[in-house]
């Protein structure tokens, strides 16, 4: 599954990252590369460092992850985490 390692790294590092809650963390493989004040900055840093062929994760640091609500009937494309 894409980003499986990065999501596991985020889960493991979350206790340390909570000090920067609200910022956006860039993770590649098992490395926390950095934190950024905006999603755009984190994405740009990811592509600048890893290009287009190596996966990376950008995630907002949240102790309790925000749930997005969609009132319309759509079928979110689930990741393997949800299956």
């Amino acid at each position: 599954m894409a980003l499986e390692k990065e999501l596991e790294t985020y889960r493991l590092k979350l206790p340390e990252l909570r000090a920067e809650e609200g910022k956006f963390v860039l993770i590649h493989d098992q490395e926390v590369v950095g934190t950024y004040t905006s999603y755009e900055d984190a994405i740009k840093a990811g592509y600048a460092k890893y290009g287009v062929s190596s996966p990376f994760l950008v995630k907002q640091i949240q102790a309790n992850e925000q749930v997005h609500f969609i009132s319309r009937f759509v079928d979110p494309c689930l990741t393997l985490l949800s299956r």
Binding site: A2, L3, L7, Y39, E40, I43, K44, A45, G46, Y47, A48, G51, V52, S53, P55, F56, L57, V58, K59, E65, Q66, V67, H68, F69, I70, S71, R72, F73, V74, D75, P76, C77, L78, T79, L81, S82
Partner: protein, 134 residues
């Protein structure tokens, strides 16, 4: 409902150019304004045409997910919406969630409140008219 274009994000565009790889053309798509959606969703058919990988995940609750939120893939894209008066509305890097069933409902993008937060939306009931300004 309005016409919009989805392209690769500015960061990915720069990386593609640096690698001398072609930048995919922006994809034209029908978009539905939805104040009932807290995030913007894009049909996987549009994302597939851009050839982009997921760069995140998020939790989503919809009538089809039941009571438990589900983890869905997030993609970084750019979006622009041509208006009656140039320049178009443009966001160079925005996160969108991948959701199916959009195309079967006649649109490919659900423009949620994360993007509408950059706009003024006015609904005139008597005129049956929605106006978006930015």
């Amino acid at each position: 409902m309005l016409d919009a274009y989805i392209g690769v994000s500015q960061g990915r565009r720069a990386a593609l150019l640096a690698a001398s790889e072609p930048v995919p053309d922006p994809q034209s798509a029908r978009a539905l304004l939805d104040t009932g959606a807290s995030c913007t969703c894009v049909d996987p058919s549009v994302l597939a045409r851009l050839g982009i990988p997921s760069t995140g995940t998020t939790l989503v609750n919809s009538p089809t997910t039941g009571t438990s939120p589900q983890t869905v893939n997030v993609y970084d894209v750019s979006i622009w919406i041509p208006g009656a008066i140039p320049p178009p509305f443009f966001l160079g890097t925005v996160a969108v969630a991948e959701s199916q069933l959009l195309q079967s409902q006649g649109f490919h993008i659900l423009l949620g409140r994360d993007i509408l937060a950059y706009c003024m939306v006015h609904y005139s009931g008597p005129l049956n008219l929605v106006t978006v300004s930015y």
